[in-house]
Amino acid sequence: MIRLEKVTKIYPDGTEAVRGVSFEVVKGELCVLLGPSGCGKTTTMKMINRLSPVTTGSIYVDGLDNSAMDENELRRNIGYAIQDVGLFPHMTVGENIGTVPALKGWTKAEQRKRTQELLELLRMKPHEYIDKYPRELSGGERQRVGVARALGGNPPVLLMDEPFGAIDPITRLELQNEFLKIQQEIKKTIILVTHDIYEAIKMGDKIALMKEGQLVQYAPPADLLFRPQDSFVAGFVGADRGVKGLQLIRVKEVMWNSPPTANPDEKTESARKRMEQQGLDWLAVIDREGKFTGWAFASDTQGADRVEEITKTSTVAVGRNAVLSEALSLMLTSGSDVLAVVDQRNRLEGVVTFTTIQDTMREAVQKGVSS
């Protein structure tokens, strides 16, 4: 979908900002351009929509050489969102989002429909926001509108320069998660620029790590973490790559799908026997509707008649789409080495244990080292 071939950028003053960069982003994938500031990642991105002209080399968008196209026509088919958002302050949210559709000559009705769709997609109530002005919005809301505006003309390609940069950490996390969900739905080909390794690992299907204008490694996040190409990459991903790697794996990928359970009315004796058979010292306690209520531990079974009496009620649980770092964090704060995985109605779907997480990470690191 997007292919860069030996792209070099030399500024008039002789600075070489980008040197011989080649890579390809597959349709529907999110590629993160990552690197320390001044590494040429933003310049690389801006050469794709020709905000910055290439010195030598070519860039192909959907098979077409971008230098052969009309630059404005090209840009109208590439969504563009930047850190400072740059919403037009004299236009309403609706007018901002409708900018590209208007340029493309859509009718007013089509523009309005698209605007409403996009506001809904970004979880903003259309009737509440469509006529507001940028100055009436909070930082997070502006970023959302910025992303919605970039999607305005329904472009197949999206360029984003630190789109979640200028907001507080909590809102940023929320927006990142939402954006990932949206991306699953819209499947755009995205290039996202960031200097934040966590964001890169979390968001990217592939990461292009750059240094001093050159592409150092282009690989999926897991490879970057566990198969760093050289000492620069290893240094950039950090000594805590194991911890960062926890962000790459979702609970559903490693959880125990049918963990041993008990219900409150069960005899303690039979529950204890089941634990012995499985070689465990716990059982997840669920009620008749399958809802998770707590844990029964082997050490408490002495002298109790029914499971209900020994159940340690617990509300700590994760969703199946949570990443392992979240699960681990919950284990550490709740002081338990087993965690329930529940659906939205609190029904038990599985269990993650501390040992599972340990094994998963050990495996990932070994795979990386051995290859």
Binding site: N49, L51, E71, N72, E73, L74, R75, R76, I78, Y80, I82, Q83, D84, V85, G86, L87, F88, P89, H90, M91, T92, T99, V100, L103, Y133, P134, R135, E136, S138, G146, R149, G152, L159
Partner: protein, 240 residues
């Protein structure tokens, strides 16, 4: 509201003073100017200011905007700097130097006023474009708006209020400076004021100066209203 109340009081005082002196008919050995003289001079004064500001705006706005264009940045210093230096020369000197250059008459007076009124317009036109958030322009370019579309749909609406403010400041200054225009053959309320000066009669000075100030206040207020009216709704909202 408070701002407007103060203006009202000031205006009443100034006009009251004018009517009072005119009503006296005679101060010392001099007779005061009549209502007819006053009206005639005020109209001439206004005309002169109007023509000068229109010319200054017609030159200053395009020039100020033009030097913000990427290719023309080397012109910023000579244009804005030159106008700034022009402003540091006392208005009396600018006007006095016009007579030998352009001869005695209205054209010299207006020419001097244009030069003197140019700077605020030029500078505001320049800053109005320069102070637009670069992210706004980058976003517009990135979305595929053409240069003309950016100028028309983004830059102009955002710059309008600041440009208007420049015209307002220039108008207010020019109303004052125009008092001196009479020295090089101009018309206007300066005639009355200067008569008072030469006659050493404060009340006659007041008879010319008070309506001039009243005119400056009125025009300033009127243009301020226009400025507000021209400000896009999204910019009237205070940042939260």
């Amino acid at each position: 509201m408070r701002h407007q109340a103060i203006l009202c009081v000031l205006l009443t005082l100034l006009l009251g003073a004018t009517f009072w002196v005119t009503g006296l008919g005679q101060v010392g050995i001099y007779s005061t100017f009549t209502y007819g003289d006053l009206l005639h001079s005020a109209w001439a004064h206004f005309k002169m200011v109007f023509i000068a500001v229109v010319i200054a705006a017609a030159m200053g706005v395009p020039l100020g905007v033009l030097v913000t264009r990427p290719g023309l940045s080397p012109l910023v210093l000579p244009v804005i700097g030159g106008a700034s230096i022009g402003q540091t020369i006392p208005s009396l000197a600018v006007i006095a130097v016009m007579a030998p250059l352009l001869g005695f008459g209205l054209q010299s007076a207006i020419f001097a006023l244009v030069i003197y009124g140019l700077l605020p317009i030029l500078r505001n036109a320049y800053t109005s474009i320069k102070t637009i958030d670069p992210a706004v322009i980058e976003a517009a370019q990135g979305m595929g708006l053409t240069r003309m579309q950016i100028a028309r749909k983004i830059e102009l609406p955002l710059a309008k209020p600041v440009i208007m403010a420049g015209i307002r400041v220039s108008t207010v200054i020019t109303v004052g400076t125009a008092e001196l225009a009479v020295l090089v053959g101009g018309e206007g309320l300066g005639k009355i004021t200067l008569t008072g000066v030469f006659a050493r009669e404060p009340l006659i000075i007041l008879q010319g100066a008070a309506p001039t100030a009243a005119m400056a206040i009125t025009l300033g207020f009127f243009l301020e209203c226009m400025e507000k009216w021209m400000t896009p709704r999204g910019l009237r909202i205070k940042r939260c």
